[in-house]
Every structure is written in structure tokens, then in C-alpha cells.
């Protein structure tokens, strides 16, 4: 029988949002359970080497490390007091609402399964079922991708994936890098590579610095971002990292591994400017990042109200206490809008406090960070013409190996125009990753050239009734009676 852990507040995710939520809820007097797929706290932003082999870490390559250390100390203290039960190494595969019965206001159930079913892992715990009156979801997100010819070659990685690799392992995944896409996040990735001894041949940004001009006020509201920017500029100067704007990778070269990239200049709409092509040779890692996609399947499984954020991502609607349209369900971090770790912490603190029944006062800092995030999204859009970069044979769905031609054919001859119908007709999004990687691109292709996907199309692709793969044997052993 799966053990059941009960609490006042359950939190999913031990990234900046979830960690802060767990700490705040515990400090407000609630009994908390924190479930996280990772083996140790930190999430994506504060991912670090395993504490088992590197107990004292100086936070090199991390921003906001003191904030992490502070949260971590409070987290450890609350665990010590028995206020937080920490369940690492478990993925929530399903979250459900318990319907209120008389004398009881319902709550939430989380079903979990080990992230890695490997016996040799000491940390590996068996599946647990979590039951709580309130739920805070802080599942974060992952790099948003736009397919381009050759992006399925080994050596091509998500920009965040390179960052995660470096932070978790303390080594580099190669030697000669090109980092491309859009957004300020490309900077810390390139800076970390350079500081760790890698050669960054170029950082290619599809947008232009002038795109920031209309948003200077919002930028000025968050001076620490300017400081960070200056730091990266210094690193880039020290390591002579070229930063090229209005430039994209048009093709990744190589047969069985990346060997180089073709690049070109683009206009403001993302259309390639003929005659600006250039080749970088001898590249062994290409990192792509087009912003982030919030991980929405758990929030969506409750049927919460959603909206499109300024970056075109599907996010959850929350009130000032971070409560979603479902009472008792709170969201924090990327799932309420991609806005960086500082904002995720502020949201997590508010969500945790509110979930524990405490009072949350409106946060000026959070508002400033939200304005900054919006300005950042507007200055670094997905280039409207990106679909023109695809060749007919470019793989869009990496798992099921569905090409751009198959998707456009399904749109043009079979009338598919949203991610769900495209999936039905072509299998794009039906494979191992369940459309996490291709979902945004497929939704764009459904909308047609130059168009952005709708809320409906993005929700269709982000609904995943199983939020993680789960063993059939485990399902068979579920003890349950749900009415």
C-alpha cells in the first residue's frame, strides 16, 4: 500500500517559488509537505552539485545565493522542528481535488512516483500519496524551443540545459559553444560557460537592444538587473565573447553531431536578410533558448482560469494572494508568468503565507519585478516570421519525428489549426515528452505563418492527464475509491 502523508499545506516544487512557499507556510504555523522531482532543494535556478559530495558550496555562477542560503536555513530549521516533511526524488503524476463533504472543506491529493526507478540510488524513496487541505504549485518551467534545421543533432541543447549541466556537475558539456535565441537569460548561460573555461564563439540574440527603449522605466525599476547586466558585460569583455543582435541560427550543421552553425541577420519581424549569412565552424555545443514555457499540466488538471502572458505563454490567473480560480489552490513562480527567481521567491512567500491562512500584504517589489518581466518579454519576442526558418523536412516533434511539412499539410489539407488536432492527425506531441518540447512550435504552426497561438491551442497541448510517466504496476496497486 502506498504510504499516505497528510499536511495542512502541500507544496509541489523546491525551486525558488516552492521553497519559499514551504518556508512561509511552515513559519505561519502550518504543517507542510514539500514534494520535488529533484534530489535536493534548489529547482532550476539554484541547482547545485550534490551536497553528498560537495557539502560546502560557494554559489559560484549563481545569483541570489544568499537568498537561497537564507531560505535553506529556514527550511532546514522547519524540518528540524517537524513542520516540513520533505519528499525529494518524487514526481507528482496526478493532482486531484477532494470534494468537500459535510464538516470538511475538501482538499487535495497528490499521487507521486520516483523520478528515477533505480535501485542503486540511496535517496530513492517509494511512491507516496500526499493529502492536504491547501495546495501550492510551483512546478516552474523549461526552455521554450523553436525548431530549426539540424536542431535534433546531438550537441544541440537547451540553453537552460547547459546551465543546469554546469551547475549540477561542475563541468562543461563541450568546448566550443554558440548560444542563440532571445532574452537576457542567454547572458548568464554564456557567462557561466566562459567562466568555467569554455569558448563561447558567439551569443546570437534575435532581438535588438533598441527594443528595450520603450521599456526603460520598467527596467529602471529593478536596478539589480542593470547590475547583473554590467557583470555579464564585464565577463563578455574579459573572455571576448561576441554578442550579436538581430542574428539567428538558420541551420545547425553536422551529420551525427553538431559541427557548426549557419547564421544570418534578421529584420525586426525575424525575416532573414539575404546576403548576411555566415558560418561558424568547429562548434560542439549549440544552446537554444527562446524564453521559457511554464509547466502547466498540474494547474490545468484542476481546470483553473488561464491567460496568455506577454511572452505568449499560457499561465495561471491568480489574485494578490497567489490563489488561483480554484479555492485553496495557490500558484507561484513561472506558472503565473515567467519572471525570474526573485519574483518567484516573492510569489512563493505570499502563496505559502496565504495557504497557511496568514495575511499577505501587497508587495511593491513584486509589482516592480512583474513590470520588468513584461518589458523583457516585449523586448524579446518570439520573432513572428520564425516559421519561415523551417525547411519542410525539419523535425518539429523530436519524439515522434514529425516534420514541418507533415504539420503544414495537416493544417492546409485537413483543416487542423490547433495543437490538439495537429497531434491527432500527425502524432506531434504524442511521444515520450508529451508535447512539452514541440507544443509551442506546433501551436504556432497550427495558427499559421506569422500568427501566435491562442489560449485554447496552448491549453490543448499542455493538458497532460499524467504529469509524469508512472508504472502500470503502480497504477494496478493504487488503493482507492473515488466517488
Amino acid at each position: 500500500m502506498t504510504p499516505i502523508v497528510s499536511a495542512d499545506v502541500a507544496v509541489v516544487g523546491a525551486g525558488p517559488a516552492g521553497l519559499a512557499a514551504a518556508v512561509a507556510a511552515a513559519e505561519s504555523g502550518a504543517a507542510v509537505v514539500l514534494v520535488d522531482a529533484g534530489a535536493q532543494p534548489g529547482g532550476q535556478f539554484w541547482r547545485h552539485r550534490p551536497e553528498t559530495v560537495a557539502p560546502e558550496q560557494d554559489g559560484r555562477g549563481h545569483h541570489g545565493w544568499p537568498t537561497y542560503l537564507d531560505l535553506r536555513a529556514r527550511f532546514d530549521a522547519a524540518r528540524g522542528r517537524g513542520r516540513i516533511t520533505y519528499l525529494p526524488g518524487l514526481q507528482v503524476w496526478m493532482a486531484q481535488q477532494i470534494h468537500p463533504v459535510q464538516g470538511d472543506d475538501g482538499g487535495f491529493t497528490l499521487r507521486t512516483t520516483p523520478t528515477a526507478a533505480v535501485a542503486a540510488l540511496e535517496a530513492s524513496v517509494g511512491s507516496q500519496t500526499v493529502v492536504a487541505r491547501r495546495l501550492v504549485l510551483g512546478p516552474g518551467g523549461y526552455d521554450r524551443q523553436l525548431p530549426v534545421p539540424g536542431w535534433d543533432l546531438p550537441g544541440v541543447m537547451a540553453a537552460g540545459g547547459i546551465q543546469a549541466f554546469i551547475k549540477a556537475n561542475g563541468i562543461l558539456p563541450g568546448q566550443r559553444f554558440v548560444i542563440a535565441g532571445t532574452g537576457p537569460f542567454l547572458l548568464p548561460v554564456a557567462a557561466n560557460i566562459a567562466e568555467a573555461g569554455g569558448k563561447v564563439l558567439a551569443v546570437l540574440e534575435s532581438s535588438s537592444p533598441t527594443a528595450w527603449l520603450p521599456h526603460l522605466r520598467a527596467a529602471a525599476g529593478v536596478p539589480e538587473k542593470a547590475l547583473e547586466g554590467a557583470e555579464y558585460a564585464a565577463v563578455f569583455a574579459r573572455h571576448r565573447v561576441p554578442y550579436r543582435t538581430r542574428t539567428i541560427v538558420t541551420e545547425v550543421l553536422g551529420t551525427d553531431h553538431v559541427s557548426g552553425v549557419k547564421t544570418a541577420k534578421v529584420d525586426a519581424g525575424g525575416r532573414v536578410r539575404p546576403g548576411t549569412e555566415r558560418v561558424y565552424e568547429d562548434v560542439d555545443v549549440v544552446g537554444f533558448g527562446w524564453g521559457f514555457t511554464p509547466q502547466m499540466e498540474l494547474p490545468l488538471s484542476f481546470g483553473i482560469q488561464t491567460r496568455l502572458d506577454a511572452d505568449g505563454s499560457l499561465v495561471g490567473v491568480v489574485d494578490e494572494r497567489q490563489q488561483s480560480s480554484v479555492p485553496g489552490l495557490f500558484l507561484a513562480g513561472e506558472v503565473t508568468g515567467v519572471g525570474g527567481a526573485t519574483l518567484a521567491v516573492l510569489e512563493g512567500l505570499a502563496a505559502g503565507t496565504a495557504a497557511a491562512g496568514g495575511t499577505v500584504s501587497p508587495e511593491k517589489t513584486a509589482a516592480r519585478h512583474r513590470r520588468f518581466a513584461e518589458a523583457m518579454h516585449l523586448a524579446h519576442p518570439v520573432p513572428p516570421a520564425w516559421q519561415d526558418w523551417l525547411a519542410p523536412e525539419t523535425i518539429v516533434c523530436r519524439c515522434e519525428e514529425v516534420t514541418a511539412r507533415q504539420l503544414t499539410d495537416a493544417r492546409e489539407s485537413l483543416g487542423a489549426r490547433d495543437a490538439r488536432t495537429l497531434k491527432s492527425f500527425t502524432r506531434a506531441g504524442m511521444g515520450w515528452c508529451q508535447g512539452r518540447v514541440c507544443g509551442f512550435a506546433a501551436a504556432c504552426l497550427g495558427a499559421g505563418p506569422g500568427s501566435a497561438p491562442t489560449v485554447e491551442s496552448l491549453s490543448g497541448s499542455a493538458k497532460r492527464p499524467l504529469a509524469a510517466p508512472v508504472g502500470i504496476g503502480e497504477l494496478a496497486a493504487l488503493e482507492t475509491s473515488d466517488n
Binding site: R111, F425, G471, A476
Partner: protein, 394 residues
């Protein structure tokens, strides 16, 4: 008013798509309306089995065999469009009692002309090496086959439009147009559409549509969950299901039932379907359904215990209380036709249903007697006011 056509098909699931395709082939002018896109209803939340093996003797088996002929005949030239595959079904009995019922069913089916081959434990294990060691025997049905249902609906609509039909997406029918007693068209937010014949192919929603025309067609939803595994090398070679499944298909029990139909797919995933349960249009995930599916699948194929599910989905089968579809002209509302209520067999039955209905719509005697499926079996028409008197059927 949109331009009039001979036939107006409401619903672009497999049934409406096949009806539109064959009506166009008959030389009729056809308009198809759907509140969404092709295959946005149950036809995209099911499996694509075309099963002879699970049918009881009677009109449904006759329709199945007729339909099979259409898949292999009229539609054969398009088979690759919808991934038609003849892999055959195997029914497995793991209990003495179910082996006895299976033997009885087999004998009756064989008398009826169904191709079926008895499997002793050894031949069964040859055909399905990973089957449970508990299996006592089984039966093989080489005629069982499958299609990709979403592609069937989408391509039949496209083939129909290539041949002159008109498809209008995002157009829910909200009422009927009448001239006297006669149904002469439909009302939609995109205006009125008039037609010589209006065909209700709205699957699980067919009862609601019929009510708009003032007639009783009691189609109800019967929920089913399907589970999909991680991609694997070929481990399951046929559509394999347990003998107990046959009893569930015809059952009217509202409670949750499941017996596994396990099958490998070309993409490597294994489909495990499906539960049957009458809970209205309730879309919440049922942990009980998942547990039951998983448990039964493991009992049939023990290796599945260590395999992961990566996805599940559910749909609502359109069923009538007597478990027969409703196909044909509705005398209670002249001009209105129905093709709905195919329950768990609509994909397989679509080809035959569409062809027979098209024959009837163009005034021919259909190849198969449709009277067992007549809408009027549900009694007199009821009064209803959601129809619109039509001033002039231009």
C-alpha cells in the same frame, strides 16, 4: 441563408464524414457542419478497432460484416491515408468458466460465417509469447483490423470536399427549419442552411439535436478510459482481450467495468483500453478506472507491470438503451435522418453506415435492411418549440 444542398450532415466525426463521403459519391450535393473541427468529438477519444470478434449475433454483427466489406472494398484505395492494418484479434480465456463461454460464442459466430480459429495454450503462446501463463486457451479472429480514426474522419471530409462537398467548421446547429411538418434545414450562428435532407451525425450529442427537432432519440454517454504506455519494441502482436470483455460490451450496468483490450501500435506504444461506465459527461479522472485498466492489463500481460504509462485519455461512447445504433429516416420528423449511437463500435461501423445511408438518401434500397436501426423505435414525437418555421425554402 446559405445556398441549399441535397444533404446537410451535422457532425464531422467518423459517422458524419463517412455519410458525407458516400453521399457525395452518390452524386448528391452535400454540406457538412460541425461545431468544431473534423474529429473533435468521440472519434478523437477512442481506439480504432474494427472488431468482428466482440459482436453478438444479430443486426449489429450484420452491419459489422457489411462495413468490413466496405473498408476492404470501396475504401480500399484510401487505406494508407488512415493507416489501415489487418492484424487480427485474439480473445484469451484464463478461467474455465470464461473458456466455456468463449467456446460457445465461437461456435455460434462460426455458424454465422465469422472466421474464427480456436487456439490451444501452445498455439496461443506462439501467437502471443508474452501472454500470461494462466491463459487456458483462446480464439483468433483474422478479420479484426484497425484504422487511425482521426485520420479517417479528416480524410473522408477532405475527400468529400475535393469531390464538391462543402465543410463548415465552428458552426453549431442550434435549431431546425421547418416547412409544415417537414424539416428543411438548420439554424446556426452563421445563418440558416437549408437542405433536402438533414442528417444528425452528432454522436453522443444526437439526443440533444433530436430534441431540437422534437423527437426522442435516447443517445447517452458511456465513458471510457484508455491508457497508453511508453514506446516499446513489439511485445503484443494482435488486439488481445480477455473473454470477460464480451459480457461487458452488451451490459447495461451503470457501474465501472473494464476488461483489457491490449494492443501494440506501429509507434511502439501499447494501448490499454478501455473502461465502460455510465457517469454522464463527467470528465474528472477516475483513479478507480486507471487501477482497473492497469490491473487487468497486467493480468493478461505480466510484463506490463514494469512498463510505464505515459498518457491516458477518455471519451464518451454514444449508446442507446438497446445497444443498437440509430440509422435512417425519422418518420416522426420528415426530412430528418439520423446516424448515431454506435457506442463502442462507431469507427468500425462508420464505413457501412455511411454507404447504406447514402444509398437511402439518394432513394435507392440500401444493400442491408436498416429497419432494426429505425429511429421510430423510440416512439412518438414530443412537442417542442425550438424549430423555426421557415418562410420560404428558397
Amino acid at each position: 441563408m446559405n445556398s441549399a444542398s441535397d444533404v446537410l450532415v451535422i457532425g464531422a466525426g467518423v459517422i458524419g464524414a463517412a455519410t458525407a463521403y458516400f453521399a457525395t459519391q452518390q452524386g448528391l450535393t452535400v454540406t457538412v457542419l460541425d461545431k468544431g473541427l473534423p474529429a473533435s468529438g468521440t472519434s478523437s477519444a477512442c481506439e480504432g478497432n474494427i472488431l468482428v470478434s466482440d459482436k453478438e449475433l444479430g443486426p449489429e454483427l450484420e452491419l459489422t460484416r457489411y462495413s468490413l466489406g466496405v473498408w476492404h472494398g470501396d475504401l480500399a484505395e484510401h487505406r494508407r491515408l488512415w493507416e489501415f492494418e489487418s492484424k487480427g484479434g485474439i480473445i484469451v480465456a484464463s478461467r474455465e468458466s470464461s473458456l466455456a463461454s468463449l467456446n460457445r460464442v465461437m461456435a455460434a459466430q462460426a455458424r454465422y460465417g465469422v472466421v474464427v480459429e480456436k487456439l490451444d495454450p501452445d498455439t496461443l503462446r506462439n501467437a502471443e509469447p508474452n501472454i500470461t501463463p494462466d491463459a487456458l486457451g483462446g480464439a483468433r479472429y483474422p478479420e479484426d483490423c484497425q484504422v487511425q480514426p482521426m485520420l479517417v474522419a479528416a480524410h473522408l471530409v477532405r475527400l468529400a470536399t475535393d469531390a464538391g462537398a462543402r465543410f463548415v467548421a465552428d458552426t453549431p446547429v442550434t435549431g431546425f427549419l421547418r416547412s409544415g411538418d417537414r424539416i428543411t434545414g438548420v439554424r446556426t450562428p452563421r445563418g440558416d442552411f437549408s437542405a433536402g435532407s438533414v442528417v444528425n451525425c452528432t454522436g453522443t450529442w444526437a439526443g440533444e439535436l433530436a430534441a431540437l427537432a422534437g423527437v426522442n432519440v435516447p443517445v447517452l454517454p458511456r465513458r471510457g478510459f484508455v491508457m497508453v504506455t511508453e514506446p516499446l519494441p513489439p511485445m503484443v502482436h494482435h488486439k488481445v482481450y480477455a473473454a470477460e470483455y464480451i459480457d461487458n460490451v452488451g451490459s447495461s450496468d451503470a457501474g465501472l467495468q473494464a476488461s483489457p483490450v491490449v494492443e501494440g501500435t506501429p509507434s511502439g506504444t501499447i494501448l490499454i483500453g478501455s473502461t465502460r461506465e455510465r457517469v454522464g459527461f463527467d470528465g474528472t479522472v477516475s483513479t478507480n478506472a486507471l487501477r482497473l485498466l492497469a490491473g487487468n492489463a497486467v493480468a493478461l500481460f505480466p510484463f506490463l507491470e514494469h512498463v510505464k504509462a505515459i498518457r491516458h485519455y477518455h471519451g464518451f461512447r454514444p449508446y442507446c438503451p438497446d445497444h443498437l445504433p440509430v440509422i435512417g429516416h425519422d418518420e416522426r420528423a420528415p426530412g430528418l435522418w439520423h446516424a448515431a449511437g454506435h457506442e463502442g463500435a462507431g469507427i468500425g461501423l462508420s464505413a457501412g453506415t455511411g454507404k447504406l445511408l447514402a444509398q437511402a438518401l439518394s432513394g435507392q434500397a440500401p444493400d442491408l435492411d436498416l429497419s432494426p436501426f429505425a429511429p421510430a423505435r423510440f416512439g412518438e414525437r414530443k412537442e417542442n418549440s425550438t424549430t423555426h418555421r421557415e418562410e420560404a425554402t428558397a
